[in-house]
C-alpha cells in the first residue's frame, strides 16, 4: 500500500442524497461507529432541486476514506459519493466575530483590521461590532488571534462548503439514475479510476 493510501490528510467527502429525515444520522453513524471525528459537516441543496448535498470533512488516510465512501454510498437514499483532497476542491468557510465596539475603536485600527484580513463589518452598534470573514481555516483562525486580546465576545465558524474542481455536476448523472437500467457510468465501480483526478467510488 502506498504512503498516499495510509497517510492521514484532510478529505472532502461530497454526498448527493435524497432529502430524507434520518439520513443525516445514518451517514453520521458510519463515522462514529469507527470512532472517526467529523471535522466539518454541511448539508445544503445541490444544483438539482430535491437532491441534497452533504459536504463532510475528515482527517483520515485515503484507504479509510475509500472504505467509508463505499459504506455511505450503500445507504438506500444516497445517490453518489465522491471524495477529494483539498487540492481538488475550491472551498470556503465563513466566520463571525463579535467584539466590543468601544475596545475596538479605542485600541485597534479598524480599517487596518478590515484590510489585512479581508474582513467585513456585518453589524456596527454602539455596544458591539460583528465582523465576518470568508476563506480557508488559517485565514479565519488568524483573525481570532488578532481579536482575542481585545476581548472576543463571541466567535462562530460555519461548516466548510466545497465545489469540486473537476466535476460536471450531477444533472446528467441523475437522468441516468432515474432509468431502470442505468449505464456503467452510474453504477460505477471505479476501482480502476484511482489515477483520475476525480476520485469516485
Amino acid at each position: 500500500m502506498s504512503n498516499q493510501d495510509t497517510e492521514k490528510q484532510e478529505f472532502n467527502i461530497t454526498v448527493y442524497t435524497e432529502n430524507q429525515i434520518g439520513l443525516l444520522n445514518r451517514i453520521a453513524i458510519i463515522f462514529t461507529r469507527r470512532k472517526i471525528n467529523i471535522d466539518s459537516l454541511n448539508t445544503s441543496p445541490s444544483e438539482i432541486e430535491s437532491i441534497h448535498r452533504f459536504n463532510i470533512v475528515i482527517t483520515e488516510s485515503e484507504d479509510v476514506v475509500r472504505k467509508l465512501t463505499r459504506q455511505i454510498e450503500k445507504q438506500v437514499e444516497v445517490l453518489k459519493v465522491y471524495y477529494h483532497t483539498n487540492a481538488d476542491v475550491i472551498w470556503q468557510e465563513m466566520a463571525l466575530y463579535k467584539v466590543s465596539t468601544d475596545v475596538i475603536a479605542e485600541k485597534v485600527s479598524v480599517e487596518r483590521l478590515l484590510r489585512e484580513n479581508g474582513a467585513r463589518v456585518v453589524v456596527l452598534r454602539k455596544d458591539y461590532t460583528v465582523f465576518e470573514t470568508t476563506g480557508h481555516r488559517e485565514e479565519t483562525d488568524n483573525l481570532i488571534s488578532i481579536l482575542q486580546p481585545y476581548g472576543l465576545i463571541e466567535f462562530v465558524r460555519s461548516a466548510r462548503v466545497a465545489i469540486i474542481k473537476d466535476s460536471e455536476g450531477f444533472n446528467s448523472k441523475l437522468r441516468e439514475f432515474e432509468r431502470l437500467e442505468p449505464g456503467e457510468d452510474v453504477i460505477e465501480n471505479e476501482y480502476l479510476n484511482k489515477g483520475q483526478k476525480v476520485f469516485s467510488m
Partner: protein
C-alpha cells in the same frame, strides 16, 4: 370488511379508489407480496393492525410468539429456509426494542426481513408518551433501511419499498414504524404496486466483462487455486451456477459457516469448513494457494484470523454483490462486482476445464491428519461420557443429510456445522456473524414454517436454550413439528474452553445449572427424553425422529471437551492447532 371487496383490493393497482384504513392497506400489501406467515406479538400501539388482522386470518397465518426476540429470530429462520422475506410484527417501546438483537443478527447475516412496529400517535412523538421509544434511531445502525409512517397515504408505497429493499441486492432487515393514527386513518386506497426501482438505490453493480476476463486469466494460469464460498451463493440462488464453475475448473472449495450446504457435504471438491474451528486443510492451505477465489463471502475475522498473515502469497479474486465488501478486509487483485448468479456463468464460460489432482490430494492429506488427530476420537469416543460429535454422527445416519439443522451459538454450533451432513441448500440455519445465543429455538420454529415438508432439527446448548426457552409456548400453541436436541455439558462451553486455553482454567461464571428440560418440555405438552449413556443414544434419536410432533431430547455430554482444530485469536490461519 366484505369478502368481495377484499378481492378487488388485492388486485394490484385497482382503478377505483376504495376507502380503507392504513392497517388494512398494510395487510393488503403483505398479501400481494406473497406473505403467508407473520411472526408477532400484539400490544397497545399496534392494536389497529391486529384488529384488521382479525379479518385476514384465513389469508395470513399469524404465529403468536412468546417474546419479540423470539418473533424476529423465527422470521429469520423462515427467511433462511424459504428464501422469502420474513415478516415480524411488534408493538412500540419494549416490543420494538426487543427486536434489536434480531435486527442486528439479520443485518450482519444479510437476512431479508420486514418488521412492522406500532408507534404512539404522531402528535405524541417526542413527548415521552407511554411505550414511546425512538425506534427509528435505535434501529438505524442495524437495519438496511427504516422509515416512520405517520400518514396512512404513505403505506402502500412504503411497504412496497420495504419489500424491494429487504430482498434485493445484498438482502437485509427493514423496519417500518407506523404511528397509531396512521393505522386507524382511512384514506383513498388505489391498489398496491410492487416496487422495482428506487433511483438512489443500486442493488446490483453492473457486471464488467473486463473483470471477468481478468479473473478467468488468473484462474487459468493458477497451479493451486482455492475457492472460498459463503452465503452469497445461497442468497443469490446460484448453487447450480457455483457447482458448474467448480466442476469445470476443478478447484477445491471450502465454505464459511453460512455457506454450508450450497454444495453437498460429500461433493468431491468440497474440502470443508473455513475459520477458527474450521477444517485443518482449508485453513493451512489458504496460506499456500496461488489464487484465492472468494465467492459471496466477506472475510470475517473468524475466517481470516490474523489479517496481515492471511493469504499474502495469493492473488485474490473477490466476487460480491456489495461493492463495500471489496477490499474491506482483504486486498483484491480482481474485483468481480455483481450478482454471482450472473457472474459465475460468465466466468465458467472462460475458465479451462481442469483437474487439480495433486493439489486436491494435498487437501485430502490434511483431512486425514485431522481425522487422526481430532475427528476420529470426537465421532467415535472410547470415553464413558458422550461427545457432541457422536450425537451429530448418529443424527446424520437418521437424516441422511436431508434435514434442516438449526444451531444456537457456542461449542455445539461449531460441532453441528463441522459434522452435520448437508445434501441440500438452505439447510444450515445458524447465527454466523452476530453469534446470538438464544437464536436456535425460535429460528427453528420459523425454519419449519419456511420449509414445512422438511425435518427441522434444532441443536442447542444448555446455555443458549435458557435464553429463549419461552418459545416452547409457541411450539405448544401452534403444534409446529420441531425436533430439539439439547447438548448439555453443564457449562457455557465455548467460554470455558477459552478460559481453559487462555486464562489458566480460571473458570469464571461458566458453570451453569439447568432445570429439568424434559419436565419443562412436558409442562408445555412436548414429548421428551434425557439420555446419559451411549447405548441409549441411537434409539432415543430414532424415537425423536419417528415421533409425530415436536420432541425434546436432552443429551448429557462430557463436561470439558474442546472444539478443535482451532485458530487462536490473533494467530494466522496456518497456525491452526489440532489440540
Amino acid at each position: 370488511m366484505e369478502v368481495a371487496q377484499q378481492e378487488v383490493l388485492t388486485t394490484p393497482a385497482a382503478k377505483e379508489a376504495v376507502e380503507i384504513t392504513g392497517s388494512a392497506a398494510l395487510l393488503e400489501a403483505l398479501i400481494v407480496e406473497g406473505v403467508d406467515t407473520i411472526f408477532g406479538y400484539p400490544g397497545g400501539a399496534i392494536m389497529p393492525i391486529y384488529d384488521a388482522l382479525y379479518d385476514y386470518k384465513e389469508k395470513l397465518n399469524h404465529i403468536l410468539v412468546r417474546h419479540e426476540q423470539g418473533g424476529i429470530h423465527a422470521g429469520q429462520g423462515y427467511a433462511r429456509t424459504s428464501g422469502k422475506v420474513g415478516v415480524v410484527f411488534a408493538t412500540s417501546g419494549p416490543g420494538a426494542t426487543n427486536l434489536v438483537t434480531g435486527l442486528a443478527d439479520a443485518q450482519i447475516d444479510s437476512t431479508p426481513l420486514v418488521c412492522i412496529t406500532g408507534q404512539v400517535f404522531a402528535h405524541l412523538l417526542g413527548t415521552d408518551a407511554f411505550q414511546e421509544t425512538d425506534v427509528i434511531n435505535i434501529t438505524t445502525p442495524v437495519t438496511k433501511w427504516n422509515y416512520q409512517v405517520t400518514d396512512a397515504n404513505e403505506i402502500p408505497e412504503v411497504i412496497a419499498k420495504a419489500f424491494y429493499i429487504a430482498k434485493s441486492g445484498r438482502p437485509g432487515p427493514v423496519l417500518i414504524d407506523i404511528t397509531k393514527n396512521a393505522q386507524i386513518q382511512k384514506f383513498d386506497y388505489k391498489g398496491y404496486v410492487q416496487c422495482n426501482h428506487i433511483r438512489s438505490y443500486r442493488p446490483k453493480p453492473i457486471v464488467r466483462t473486463q473483470y471477468i476476463e481478468e479473473a478467468a486469466a488468473l484462474i487459468n494460469q493458477a497451479k493451486k487455486p482455492f475457492v472460498l464460498f459463503g452465503q452469497g451463493v445461497i442468497l443469490g440462488s446460484a448453487e447450480q451456477e457455483f457447482k458448474a464453475f467448480i466442476e469445470k475448473s476443478g478447484i477445491p472449495s471450502a465454505w464459511t459457516i453460512l455457506g454450508a450446504g450450497a454444495i453437498p457435504t460429500d461433493h468431491p471438491l468440497n474440502v470443508g469448513m473455513l475459520g477458527m474451528h474450521g477444517n485443518y486443510g482449508p485453513n493451512v492451505l489458504t496460506n499456500d494457494c496461488d489464487v484465492l477465489i472468494a465467492i459471496g463471502m466477506r472475510f470475517d475475522d473468524r475466517v481470516t484470523g490474523r489479517l496481515d498473515k492471511y493469504a499474502k502469497q495469493a492473488q485474490v479474486i473477490h466476487l460480491d454483490i456489495d461493492p463495500a465488501e471489496i477490499d474491506k478486509n482483504v486486498k483484491t487483485t480482481v474485483p468481480v462486482w455483481g450478482d454471482c448468479k450472473e457472474t459465475l456463468p460468465l466466468l465458467t464460460a472462460l475458465v479451462e476445464k481442469k483437474e487439480h489432482t495433486e493439489w486436491l490430494k494435498l487437501f485430502n492429506e490434511y483431512t486425514q491428519k485431522e481425522v487422526d488427530a481430532v475427528i476420529h476420537t470426537e465421532l467415535n469416543p472410547t470415553t464413558e461420557e458422550m461427545t457432541m460429535g457422536e450425537v451429530i454422527k448418529q443424527l446424520n445416519e437418521l437424516t441422511h443429510g436431508n434435514a434442516v439443522i438449526v444451531s444456537d451459538v457456542g461449542q455445539h454450533q461449531m460441532v453441528a456445522c463441522r459434522y452435520s451432513q448437508f445434501n441440500n441448500t438452505r439447510s444450515n440455519v445458524t447465527s454466523g456473524g452476530l453469534g446470538t445465543m438464544g437464536f436456535g429455538l425460535p429460528a427453528a420454529i420459523g425454519a419449519k414454517f419456511g420449509a414445512q415438508d422438511r425435518d427441522v432439527i434444532a441443536i442447542i446448548g444448555d446455555g443458549g436454550f435458557q435464553m429463549t426457552l419461552q418459545e416452547l409456548g409457541t411450539i405448544m400453541q401452534t403444534g409446529v413439528d420441531v425436533k430439539i436436541i439439547i447438548l448439555n455439558n453443564r457449562f457455557l462451553g465455548m467460554v470455558r474452553q477459552w478460559q481453559e486455553l487462555f486464562n489458566e482454567r480460571r473458570y469464571s461464571f461458566v458453570d451453569i445449572q439447568s432445570p429439568d428440560f424434559v419436565a419443562l418440555a412436558a409442562s408445555y405438552r412436548i414429548a421428551g427424553k434425557r439420555v446419559d449413556s451411549r447405548e441409549d443414544l441411537a434409539p432415543a434419536l430414532k424415537e425423536m425422529m419417528d415421533h409425530k410432533g415436536s420432541y425434546l431430547l436432552e443429551v448429557m455430554v462430557t463436561k470439558e471437551n474442546n472444539v478443535f482444530p482451532m485458530v487462536p485469536q490473533g494467530c494466522s490461519v496456518s497456525e491452526i492447532r489440532l489440540k
